[in-house]
């Protein structure tokens, strides 16, 4: 029968390296933050075209990173609290995340239109403003390109920190329970497949 053996690792089992590298590159040059768009567009594309969550299931480097760190004994492996896995939290966080994302796009537009100057900060957890001008070297790029990079890296760093905290407190991939991308792609898949069966 098709009993699954301990199969050799595939190329996509190493995508955690890309996720770790992404976080490091943000310290080298903030413009690398643009690469994070891959983590937004690829899962959406797969869900919209393929109607599945193979991004979460196979390719998510962040999920792998949490799995790996959890496997090193950094996770308490406790159940997530009930509220965290409730629908209102999952979709509430998605809406909150959307609001923050569009706020970031608005700031980018303000800089593009000249209404606001470029702010060389990375905002952690929506409140802590970390000076980040030391990672902005290619100052000849348009201001909005850099502003988007700072904003986007803030989103990525914040969600990684949240994921790390819940990785330690609960199961390694607790982030998946409230991941906005996961929620969005699941909604797309449900809409595509219908709620049959």
């Amino acid at each position: 029968m098709s009993q699954k053996k301990k199969t050799a690792r595939r190329w996509y089992d190493y995508l955690w390296i890309a996720s770790a590298l992404y976080l490091l590159l943000g310290f080298v040059n903030i413009l690398f933050a643009w690469l994070g768009m891959i983590c937004f567009l690829v899962p959406l594309g797969i869900a919209l075209i393929g109607g599945n969550k193979s991004y979460c299931n196979r390719y998510c480097g962040r999920g792998q990173l949490f799995e790996l760190l959890g496997g090193l004994g950094l996770s308490r492996r406790k159940e997530v609290p009930r509220f965290l896995k409730s629908k209102w939290f999952r979709y509430g966080f998605l809406i909150f995340f959307f609001a923050m994302f569009f706020g970031m796009l608005y700031t980018t537009w303000l800089v593009a239109s000249g209404a606001q100057d470029l702010k060389q900060v990375v905002t952690l957890l929506w409140t802590i403003r970390l000076p980040w001008q030391w990672a902005h070297h290619l100052t000849n790029v348009p201001g909005w390109v850099a502003q988007f990079a700072f904003g986007f890296y803030s989103v990525m760093l914040t969600s990684t920190v949240l994921g790390l905290v819940t990785m330690i407190l609960f199961k390694p991939r607790s982030w998946c329970v409230y991941c906005p991308m996961g929620a969005m792609t699941q909604l797309i898949c449900k809409a595509k497949a219908g709620k049959s069966r």
């Binding site: 029968m1 098709s2 009993q3 699954k4 869900a47 109607g51 599945n52 969550k53 193979s54 979460c56 299931n57 196979r58 999920g63 799995e67 492996r77 159940e79 997530v80 896995k85 629908k87 999952r90 609960f170 199961k171 390694p172 991939r173 607790s174 982030w175 998946c176 329970v177 991941c179 996961g182 929620a183 792609t185 699941q186 797309i188 898949c189 449900k190 595509k192 497949a193 069966r197």
Partner: protein, 65 residues
Amino acid sequence: MPVQRKKAVVEKDHCVACGCCVKVCPLGAIQIDRGRWAVVSERCVGCGRCANACPASVISVEVQP
């Protein structure tokens, strides 16, 4: 003594379809159905690895009637 059959049961309404269960199943007995939720096949012997791995804790091992 009657043999008790155990099987993983997914609370699919709260499943986030992350696929952690699929990765740890030694029998390939659990799959994500079209990105919606996890589905357990007849091959499941109820070892409970998926239940341990599930970040949302929506899988439980139940004794089959």
